[in-house]
């Protein structure tokens, strides 16, 4: 197992190097340069040239890439010029916020999705199945940013139950209940689509397992139905549900970009959108590499979990 993990980690290195090259080239090729973005109306060629020199953007492309890569390997991601602070500090702050949001959403959609799928499968074609299938389809079909805006209108503006946006209250907040208050709407809006997908796939996985011989045997032995479903069938179905969870985790992470914009959550998705619009090259590059690395690590973790769960999958 240790060797397997090590092998996977080593194979991730070329992937990450490739990502650094791609993101660097994209940022170099997109039209519009940071100096123009900073200077706005005052971007005369003279001013742009001087500012580019001050920002160190006048060096040849290849040289700039290796300077950036070299610095990054020593933990120096450079300084963001749109925020005037070290890129890594900003990324770590922001990534923490995104992890909280995406993590809670992921737990929500996993639990709700699997539960809905299991109940549907156990009551195939019954009322519960139909009601859940209907709700799930709505969840899958509504774009998450629209759902988010509607939730704000209803729960924050009209009913005033929950705060509109942000992560903590400006005054008198900062504790866990305050965080939960701010988290309820964005986490639910972000979880909606993934819950639907997981529910649909859990349902079919469960239905397949429930038709198998060992379930009939369990029932024949007189095992209580609840234990048949949650003990025997769900455990077997998890082998096909877990990879779906892994994929959905990626979707939740990328879906966080819209949700962070709508709810002004101070996460890494919103940071990247702002950074791209301001042509904050180092912040975009650092952010993308960081997120990509996190995603690669997560995939490795999912694969490892799967091989632990199902020994038939060769390591």
């Amino acid at each position: 197992m240790g060797a397997y993990i090590l092998k996977r980690l080593i194979s991730a290195i070329p992937v990450l190097l490739g990502i650094t090259v791609i993101v660097f080239l994209i940022m170099a090729m997109i039209p519009g340069d940071p100096a123009t973005a900073i200077l706005g109306s005052y971007a005369t060629p003279d001013n742009v040239e001087k500012l580019n020199r001050d920002l160190g953007l006048d060096k040849p492309l290849v040289q700039r890439y290796f300077i950036w890569l070299g610095n990054m390997l020593t933990g120096d991601f450079g300084r963001s010029f749109s925020l005037n602070r070290p890129v890594l500090d900003e990324i770590l702050d922001r990534f923490q916020a995104t992890l909280i949001l995406a993590g809670v959403s992921f737990v929500l959609c996993s639990i709700l999705g699997i539960l809905a799928g299991v109940v549907s499968a156990a009551r195939q074609y019954g009322f519960a199945d139909k009601a859940i299938t209907f709700t799930v389809l709505i969840g899958i079909s509504i774009p998450s940013f629209f759902l988010g805006m509607m939730m704000i209108l209803l729960f924050a503006v009209n009913l005033r139950w929950l705060p509109v946006s942000g992560m903590y209250a400006i005054y008198g907040g900062g504790d866990l209940p305050d965080l939960i208050n701010h988290l309820i709407m964005p986490a639910l809006a972000l979880a909606a689509v993934a819950t639907g997908v997981i529910a649909r796939l859990s349902r079919s996985a469960m239905l397949e397992v429930l038709r198998q011989d060992f379930i009939r045997t369990a029932r024949a032995k007189g095992v209580p139905e609840r234990r048949v479903i949650y003990g025997h069938a769900l455990r077997a179905a998890m082998v096909s549900i877990i990879p779906v969870l892994g994929i959905q985790a990626g979707f939740v992470l990328s879906g966080a970009v819209y949700i962070e914009m709508v709810f002004q959550w101070p996460g890494i998705g919103r940071m990247l959108v702002d950074a791209i619009l301001k042509r904050d090259i180092l912040l975009v590059q650092g952010g993308v590499v960081f997120v990509a690395a996190a995603y690669v690590m997560f995939n490795i973790a999912v694969d490892v979990a799967q091989s632990v769960l199902d020994p038939r999958i060769k390591t």
């Binding site: 519009g32 123009t36 749109s82 602070r85 503006v157 946006s165 208050n181 609840r226 709508v262």
Partner: protein, 525 residues
């Protein structure tokens, strides 16, 4: 075989979780505290170092923390004393000597004196200054005419310019001219922008990244003390979310309300404030080649476009129709005699026929957004329809803002016949000097992307720059506006009125024509 039996235990669990949720939600109903003003901003500030930033969004915070030698007189764009009590300008217009206010200290307790003024300008302008590396200072060129800054005595400072430059005073009043504490720059270096120290009515309290910048009342302020204990600036980049926060009571004030959201704020709970600013929205016409090389066709475009409809229907009354290149907010330099080109499609058709340009094909660069661009896509399509009505076939090409600037700033030659543009400036000199002179064509480093050229306009602008007498300057600018309106190098479309909304708990709030946000006299109940 029930999966969810309604037992007493599940009921208890459900009730407990409902209670827990209720307890969590309870403190939410609390309003924002009295004495603390919470402002919804459009973005996270870059830094709170006046020399290092360029965005109005950042300036709105800075003018409450810092002061300059001079400032804009409230409600106008005229210059009046602030940290300087008076000044003298030499005969030839190259020496400005300021007498400084006595007994002013920075928030860190260090005295404000002539040496501090010299430090500020040397830091920005002198590449060998030990703290020049705390930049870059993108707008330092505002003071590029300054050759030297001299300490005459503790309370007297003298600037020597390399040539007479009339906009110098209004550039000093611009946020780039706000003065920082030298001791704080020495202590914090490049991080000064995150722990700012000035002389203003508020001092810096804390900056929580992406959540809030908090400033507090400065108890030792030399002037009238601030009306609130603290001001909190919250960055809320999404306009819809900003509106929702305002409606829900999460903020007390918001700036840049989207025109379509204004109707939500009618009624007694909110006050909408408006103020025309030094802004002009126009179309650059390519006067070098194609149909717009003919003045008649350029005038025809001005007649053909229904500016009233754009201002009232597309922008919902958040702008006025522009008459010429200078916005009316520069009251002293504005030519009151100018009337906007009326909407007259028949006259436009006649002019097009005279010029033989009926049915011409035109390429039109439109941006998706950008500073001061208002609602560029809707405005662009309205303009396209108006021009189609007089027989011009306009093809729109849309670009993201930074890409758009990269296309338009180097000049329209060979690419397009017209392009959208908007400017906000602090002096009537800036825009025409950078965008209408022959020496401001793109190949000479200016923004005259439509290649307009009129020697008379060039001469007037050069002369106005060196005249230190304001009445004389005003005359020159008014003459320039007349000629430029007649020559029609642009289609003059709109002057934006900035707006803001406050809740009924906020008093004494006014918007300034400078687009800055002066909050020291505001009271929050």
């Amino acid at each position: 075989m029930s999966l969810f039996t309604l037992t007493r235990r599940t009921l208890m669990a459900a009730a407990t979780s409902m209670l827990a949720l209720g307890a969590v939600s309870a403190p939410l109903l609390a309003q924002t505290p009295p004495g603390v003003l919470i402002v919804g901003q459009i973005a996270e500030p870059k830094a709170l170092d006046p020399a290092a930033v360029t965005a109005v969004n950042d300036f709105r915070i800075l003018v409450n923390l810092y002061e300059g030698l001079v400032r804009y007189k409230p409600g106008t764009l005229e210059v009046e004393p602030q940290l300087a009590t008076s000044w003298e300008i030499s005969e030839d217009g190259t020496e400005y000597t300021f007498t400084l206010r006595e007994g002013v200290t920075f928030h860190d307790g260090t005295p404000f004196d002539a040496a501090a003024v010299k430090f500020n300008f040397d830091r920005m302008l002198d590449e060998s200054h030990p703290f020049h590396d705390t930049g870059p200072f993108p707008l330092a060129f505002f003071f590029s005419s300054v050759e030297s800054t001299e300490v005459v005595d503790d309370l007297t400072v003298k600037f020597t310019l390399n040539a007479p430059y009339a906009p110098f005073l209004s550039n000093l009043a611009y946020p780039t001219g706000l003065l920082v504490s030298p001791a704080a720059v020495e202590a914090n270096g490049a991080d000064f922008g995150r722990s700012p120290v000035g002389t203003g009515p508020f001092k810096f309290a804390e900056w929580r990244s992406n959540e809030a910048v908090v400033i507090e009342k400065n108890a030792d302020y030399w002037g009238d003390p601030a009306g609130t204990d603290a001001v909190v600036f919250r960055p809320i980049t999404d306009a819809n979310t900003r509106v929702a926060e305002m409606l829900a009571g999460g903020i007390d004030m918001m700036v840049e309300v989207p025109p379509t959201a204004l109707s939500q704020f009618q009624g007694d709970d909110f006050t909408v404030v408006e103020q025309a600013g030094p802004h002009v929205w126009f179309l650059i016409l390519n006067a070098k080649e194609g149909p717009f090389a003919d003045k008649k066709v350029r005038q025809a475009a001005n007649y053909a476009i229904n500016k009233e409809a754009i201002v009232n229907d597309v922008l919902e009354g958040t702008a006025d129709v522009a008459a010429g290149p200078t916005p009316p907010a520069f009251a002293w330099a504005y030519n009151e005699a100018l009337d906007p080109y009326p909407y007259d499609p028949e006259k436009a058709k006649a002019l097009l026929a005279e010029a033989g340009a009926e049915g011409a094909d035109l390429t039109f660069f439109v941006t998706e957004g950008g500073s001061g661009m208002l609602d560029p896509i809707s405005m662009g399509t309205a303009i396209q329809a108006d021009l189609a009505a007089v027989g011009l076939d306009v093809k729109i090409e849309t670009y993201e803002w930074n890409t758009f600037l990269g296309e338009v700033n180097p000049g329209l030659e060979g690419k397009a016949d017209m392009a959208e543009m908007a400017w906000m400036t602090n002096d009537p000199d800036t825009l025409p000097y950078l965008a209408l002179r022959t020496d401001a064509w793109p190949d000479k480093g200016g923004f005259n992307s439509g290649y307009y050229s009129n020697p008379e306009v060039d001469a007037l602008l050069e002369e106005a720059r060196t005249a230190t007498d304001q009445t004389k300057r005003a005359e020159l600018y008014q003459k320039m506006q007349e000629i430029v309106q007649e020559d029609a190098p642009w289609v003059f479309v709109a002057n934006w009125k900035q707006n803001a909304v406050t809740s009924d708990r906020v008093e004494n709030f006014e918007l300034e024509p400078s687009f800055l946000l002066q909050l020291s006299s505001v009271v929050k109940n």
